[in-house]
């Protein structure tokens, strides 16, 4: 049995799975249910100035019948009275002292407001603070949320204010609505933020209702850009995470990975790319807290198989494999192979290769089943056939090096080797 315990800046939790600051962590009743289900910790729904929400609030993307592939919301920070939130945080802390309790904050853009918020939050006995510099809607217009996170100077200033009074660890949550998360990440790290978390939601329009012609979600015939999250954003979040894990400034602080995590595999990937723990929102929102069982068990079994005893054993292990294009080995060459015993003759590899790739698959017509084979000389090793093949391990990519030695693009050019071999 692997040890799933997590220690994030001294904030301990029985597993690395926290619920991200969002509706699942909005009230005592939710958080108690989450802890009963087994979640390691929560980042309480962002506290700040009083707001008012609209209805409706969410919309989602369905893809080939898969509901909520992507999820979008136009909700604001907590719309409950601050005192009630603070009181409930205290109560939960008492009931579940072994779980991580981090409070998310977003104050008005001045020192006094931030000082006041920080003090009130840490007075509850919470273990940490998360600064919400990421909310992409509603708060931006008031100079808060993403408008702080998008400007490294402002972000830095706010963190400095916070650090003046903070007595517990501070995590800064970054917005993905920027060209690169590194400048803001660096700025807040240099300003003293103890850790980073990302991503918050991505500005989006999930679609337009083709009857009413109103984009989703519909609020009395109007809509606004909402924050996108859920499985669809995972690849973007992973990329942003990696840039922080690779940057010499930001990699010095722990990162809490967020964005599209719905299975233990997703979580393992975030940790491999540098996250110290992970936060989940959409997956819990669309399936309930019970998903924690498999998140923990799946991760545990994988760790056992790989021989990892603790989370830190594999944390960041994949970061060095993400390199610059110029450093990739040009002599590495793979060619697809179709296992004829496994092939079910659906022809998807053929038609995709023929229409959009390199015409590297041969078709022999049969009744009713055609036979498909790879034309080795034509295959560029793009993976497309393997990606569309519905059968596991039917198409494998086999290594046929062009030459034994490592050769990168820079060296390739230097030697004046021929281009356009395809």
């Amino acid at each position: 049995m692997a040890d799933l315990r997590s220690d994030f800046l001294g904030i301990k939790s029985p597993n690395p799975f926290w619920l991200a600051s969002a509706p699942p962590t909005d009230k005592k009743i939710n958080v108690l249910r989450a802890f009963e289900a087994g979640w390691g910790g929560v980042v309480w729904k962002t506290l700040g100035t009083q707001v008012k929400n609209v209805s409706s609030r969410y919309s989602a993307l369905t893809y080939n019948g898969q509901k909520a592939m992507g999820f979008n919301n136009i909700e604001l920070i907590s719309d409950r009275p601050l005192d009630i939130n603070l009181k409930e945080i205290r109560e939960v802390l008492k009931e579940f002292p072994d779980r991580a309790m981090v409070v998310s904050l977003m104050a008005d853009n001045n020192k006094e407001s931030w000082h006041e918020m920080v003090k009130k939050a840490q007075d509850t006995g919470a273990h940490g603070l998360e600064l919400n510099f990421g909310c992409p809607h509603g708060m931006v217009e008031r100079g808060m949320g993403a408008s702080v996170g998008q400007d490294p100077e402002i972000a830095k200033m706010v963190v400095e204010w916070v650090m003046e009074v903070a007595q517990i660890p501070v995590i800064t949550k970054l917005t993905p609505n920027v060209h690169s998360v590194v400048p803001a990440g660096r700025a807040v790290t240099e300003a003293g933020s103890n850790a980073l978390s990302l991503i918050n939601t991505i500005q989006s329009v999930t679609g337009v209702d083709l009857d009413t012609l109103v984009p989703n979600p519909n609020v009395a015939g109007k809509s606004v850009f909402g924050g996108y999250c859920g499985p669809a954003v995972k690849p973007i979040a992973l990329k942003m995470l990696t840039t922080l894990a690779q940057d010499e400034v930001t990699r010095k602080v722990p990162i809490s990975g967020i964005g599209g995590i719905s299975t233990w595999k997703d979580a393992a990937e975030f940790i491999l790319l540098g996250a110290s723990n992970v936060q989940v929102c959409t997956a819990a929102m669309v399936q309930g807290f019970r998903i924690i069982t498999d998140l923990c068990e799946g991760l545990n079994n994988w760790m056992d198989e790989k021989g990892y005893k603790t989370i830190s054993d594999f944390q960041g292990l994949s970061v060095p494999s993400l390199t610059r294009w110029e450093e990739l080995d040009i002599n590495y060459h793979i060619i697809a192979n179709i296992n004829q015993d496994k092939c079910i003759h659906c022809g998807l590899c053929y038609i995709t290769c023929e229409d959009t790739s390199h015409q590297s698959i041969d078709i022999k017509k049969g009744m009713p089943y055609n036979t498909y084979t790879i034309k080795d000389e034509e295959c560029v090793g793009c993976n497309l056939c393997k990606i569309v093949c519905p059968v596991q391990d039917c198409i494998t990519m086999e290594v046929h090096r062009k030459a034994p030695e490592y050769l990168n693009w820079t060296e390739f050019q230097k030697r004046g080797l021929p281009l356009n071999d395809h």
Binding site: N64, G65, I344, H345, C346, G347, L348, Y350, I351, I363, K365, M367, P368, Y369, N370, P390, V391
Partner: protein, 450 residues
């Protein structure tokens, strides 16, 4: 022991003859299933469909919410796509070829999805096709069965004015008069005929019988071409003593009766023997049972391996409680007071392969007897040899001979469907009608060119 009607209450009869393959109750079911389809290229399902319906396309059109497009895709290849979704033996056609079979997974419910897409179109009579303006060409079609209707639709689309001559009072052919009652209702068959003819340019004249009220010469004179889609006739005789006894019936007539009158008015025996193991035999057996027969026994002279029906059909007969006797051939029917009483059967064994490549049954000399009060003959149907021969149409034992374009030996006379193949499926007849329409259009073009 005797043949009786009203063996069951009307509720039970209603239940017994209700939809064998019910439709999706909810659109969600259709969506889930449509999304399960992986959209094969050069899809095996399409290749095994005699009408080559673009199955992955119509399924993905259901998934995308384009139901009209889906129905259009189906009807473009098969104007009886609605009926076919209910009667096709899909286990040996599209669904049998689905690649999921190779993963030992349930194939995509193609028929059910096809029904989902077409049913609404027929119910609401969606106008998915527009015929070209009339070009003044006239074609006569004999027989309003699947072959004739499909030919008529294809021709009318191209601007040909079609007149269909049908001996019965309703269209649809065996779809209306032959297919098992638990597969299609008379109402559906009527709606389907109405849907097919709704493009215009097709007039159906009922109660017109070739060889009686109408004649080929006349038709040829008044039209630019003629299509014969007359199907095949009643079931083959057994050529054994006792065949004339009361209680010995031909399956086609038995089912015709069932399809044209109230179930409660159709008589069935206590102990029914059905001779044959094709689709018609299975239908006769299952429907006898569903009418309330106590014992129904299917007899076949070869073994299960050689049976002409599909596994799914045989399973249906088994589930309905029919007895199955392999290697059994009827030898004599013994009567009492003119009524069938006993069926004497020969025990057979398999010998050398025959012309069909299957091992031929050989009489062992041993016999056994079955108590019966009804014997249903369902060992193949007889083509209209007389009619065809009298009209000087080249044929083989009544099966009309045609070339690839559907042409018979008589100029301007085309044929297709059961009349040519001796009895296959609805879907084959539909394709034959399409093929002949193409041949006819080609022929008409040449005529005009002259």
């Amino acid at each position: 022991m005797s043949i009786q009607n009203s063996r069951l209450s009307s509720e039970d009869l209603e239940k017994n003859f209700s939809d064998l393959h019910p439709p999706f109750d909810h659109p969600e079911g259709a969506l889930l299933e449509a999304n399960r389809c992986i959209n094969c290229f050069d899809a095996p399902c399409t290749k095994l469909c005699p009408t080559s319906i673009q199955i992955p396309l119509f399924i993905k059109q259901i998934a995308s919410g384009n139901l009209k497009g889906s129905a259009h895709t189906i009807f473009s290849s098969n104007i009886m796509g609605g009926g076919c979704s209910k009667v096709c033996p899909v286990e040996k056609l599209c669904e049998g070829a689905c690649v999921y079979n190779l993963l030992e997974e349930t194939p995509i419910a193609i028929a059910k999805l096809q029904r989902y897409a077409t049913e609404k179109a027929i119910d609401e009579q969606w106008k998915l096709f527009t015929r070209k303006p009339s070009n003044g060409k006239k074609v006569a079609i004999v027989g309003a069965g699947p072959a004739g209707l499909s030919c008529a639709h294809s021709l009318s689309l191209e601007g040909v004015d079609v007149t269909v001559f049908e001996k019965e009072a309703k269209g649809g052919g065996l779809m209306t008069y032959g297919v098992a009652a638990y597969k299609v209702t008379p109402e559906f068959c009527e709606a389907e005929v109405k849907y097919i003819t709704s493009i215009g340019g097709i007039e159906i004249k009922y109660n017109q019988e070739l060889g009686k009220t109408i004649h080929l010469d006349e038709l040829r004179k008044k039209h630019d071409a003629v299509f014969l889609g007359i199907g095949v006739g009643i079931a083959r005789g057994l050529q054994i003593p006792g065949e004339e006894l009361q209680g010995v019936e031909d399956a086609i007539s038995f089912i015709y009766n069932l399809r044209t009158s109230d179930y409660s008015k159709v008589g069935v025996g206590d102990n029914v023997a059905v001779i044959g193991m094709g689709m018609t035999a299975i239908d006769a057996a299952t429907q006898s049972k569903r009418l309330g027969a106590k014992e129904v026994t299917l007899l076949y002279r070869r073994t299960e391996q050689e049976k002409p029906c599909t596994d799914v059909e045989l399973e249906l007969a088994r589930l309905d409680g029919c007895n199955i006797l392999w290697l059994s051939a009827p030898k004599e029917i013994i009567g009492e007071n003119g009524k069938a009483k006993k069926l004497v059967c020969s025990k057979m064994k398999l010998g050398a392969p025959d012309a069909s490549g299957r091992k031929s049954p050989v009489d062992t000399g041993e016999t056994f007897e079955l108590e019966v009060d009804m014997v249903i003959k369902a060992a193949g149907q007889i083509p209209f040899e007389d009619l065809v021969t009298k009209s000087a149409i080249e044929n083989k034992e009544g099966k009309i001979k045609i070339d690839k374009s559907g042409k018979t030996n008589i100029p301007g006379v085309f044929s297709g469907g059961d009349a040519v193949n001796g009895g296959k499926e609805v879907v084959d007849a539909v394709q034959a009608g399409k093929d002949a329409a193409e041949g006819i259009l080609e022929y008409l073009k040449k005529q005009t060119g002259k």
